[in-house]
Symmetry: C2
Subunit: 325 residues, 2 copies
DNA sequence: TTGTAAGCGTTATCAT
DNA sequence: ATGATAACGCTTACAA
């Protein structure tokens, strides 16, 4: 900046002003400064700027998985919205591990982010403490709780599980199955589904828990297990994700099963491909774009300080009935 | 740090030393400092540290899409590897747009990253200039060129297209089709496939270019177009991604087509689900984990300065023959 | 082993 | 409208 100033014939501060608010310098000097910047190829040092202004324009985001579109799509809209306001995203993958998350939170916080986006409402005590101590807007997404660290935007997984159970009961199923990936929120849905189903007419629920992440292969294996080992003969199976459900669909096809005749399948997430499956997948829709945007807006509202954002926003969900169930 | 020092009864520098290299302070003072840190809940300011040391321990990564697993899986392994060495990732989505990329490069560079990861070898002149001027390791992934900005790791898309054409010729197909998403590298594969196929026994190539990103729905629509509008009756169709190929598979099933009998389909990427499709998908395997790790290692080697990394590494690809072709 | 002093490249506060 | 000066919170000589 000093160099740019020297070339433009002004002081370093004037260059700083020109860059942060061009209306604060005269048109003539602005022009000279712009020229000097072009000549030198000057790129401002945002680190120094952040240090001096106490505003990093950096937002930290922690997700369980970068490769799971369910999470990455939220980050996508979140990033886009934050970017409109000049924020960049420091992104890390915690892998569903609270201890890892703690390490990342600490590392991210040291970069002085202006806000933090977390996935889920389960965090270690130390994580909560650090976050609270940072004194910046914190938003937890994908779930809701009456006592967020700061703010949260999501929906009730317990409600979702129950809603699918009611759907199954209404459709007259006596038997059901669950196929669940290794994800806390998925387990929550599974449990509330099972409880509700059994409390109402449901006779029994066959359960298959996938050891790792959701994948089509895991879905195929799950249905094979349910049928071959657990003796599932008919009914509706509730999968913790559309990808898993797709695996079941393929395995069912391979076994010559009719859907929904012999077997009904319900997914979760309503990913783009769900409607294009054969049969089209009945699933639970969650508006992930809205999730990301709402999270961003909650943070922005707090940063701008104009409107005080509501601490918890329940975005709900919707069962989309298609052909598979 | 000054506060921590005061409590521990030492100066601020000593605290800095204790944190950066605990062996540089006496065990006794180290203990006192550690206690003081615990009491105060002190978190070092990485911004100030980076400003002073000229080392941000931040690495910038630019990808076309966050939600396309093909790119996110590379970022995943890249991040993991970089993290082992204490680097964090500033990630942005450029959306296949060179002008957007330029804006992001400039924004990222202002944060003084220690290295940059770019996707592809096509960049605006201004982007190249800024990157070169930054004087840090730059690695371009997913493609190779004899003249990278700094380093590149990937494979030849032209070679891949030709290899699939040869595969088609060897299998005796006279007719072929291409289904291509709106991605420069995919178009490159399509063109070299088509040229090679026609130069050798191939009679004609039906082409469907998807307007937007790859999706299952786009794949279904593509096959419908190829058959209903373009008159494709048989042959092998080369898709620019496994997701697209999956869409073709589903559409073909829905039309009662036999595969590979009536139609043969080849995907690209060998995503996890490819082997679990019905029929299992013949596709081109690219080792994305290796890609991410190699990119990270190239950067690390340059940063450490011990071994001088080779500027371009060709990781190749492999046609995985399964049932669909 | 520890401390002092200078400096990293900005922004903020006051003057002028 | 512009400039001088002091932070911002660290690291890196250099000194003790």
């Amino acid at each position: 900046m000093a160099t740019v100033g020297r070339i433009a014939g002004v002081s370093q501060v004037t260059v700083s002003r020109a860059l942060s608010d061009s209306s604060k310098v005269s048109p003539l000097t602005l022009k000279k400064i712009e020229d000097a910047i072009k000549v030198t190829g000057f790129v401002p040092n945002a680190l120094a700027g952040a240090l001096a202004s106490q505003q990093s324009h950096l937002v930290s985001a922690l997700v369980p998985s970068l490769t799971n579109i369910v999470y990455s799509s939220v980050v996508k809209t979140f990033s886009q919205r934050m970017r409109e306001f000049g924020y960049q995203i420091l992104l890390s993958e915690t892998g569903f591990d609270l201890t890892e998350e703690e390490v990342f939170v600490s590392a991210h916080l040291s970069r002085q982010p202006d806000a933090v986006l977390l996935t889920g409402i389960q965090h270690s005590a130390q994580t909560r403490r650090m976050l609270l101590g940072a004194g910046i807007p914190i938003v937890e997404v994908w779930d809701i709780t009456a006592s967020p660290i700061d703010m949260c935007v999501g929906f009730s997984h317990a409600d979702a599980g129950r809603a699918v159970a009611d759907f199954a009961i209404d459709a007259g199923f006596a038997f059901a199955g669950t196929v669940t990936a290794n994800d806390e929120r998925a387990k929550l849905r599974r449990d509330s589904f099972t409880n509700r189903f059994l409390q109402n007419e449901g006779q029994s629920v066959f359960a298959h828990d996938c050891p790792g992440a959701a994948s089509m292969g895991a879905g195929r294996a799950a249905l094979a297990d349910l049928i071959d080992n657990q003796g599932l003969k008919s009914g509706m199976v509730f999968c913790s994700s559309d990808v898993l459900a797709q695996g079941l669909l393929i395995e069912a096809h391979a076994r010559g099963l009719k859907m929904p005749g012999d077997l009904s399948i319900v997914g979760f997430g309503d990913q783009e491909f769900a409607k294009d499956l054969e049969p089209a997948l009945t699933t639970v829709r969650v508006d992930r774009e809205l999730l990301g945007r709402t999270a961003a807006d909650a943070i922005l509202a707090r940063i701008m300080g104009t409107e005080s954002p509501q601490p918890v926003s329940d975005l709900g969900f919707e069962i989309v009935r298609r052909m598979s169930a």
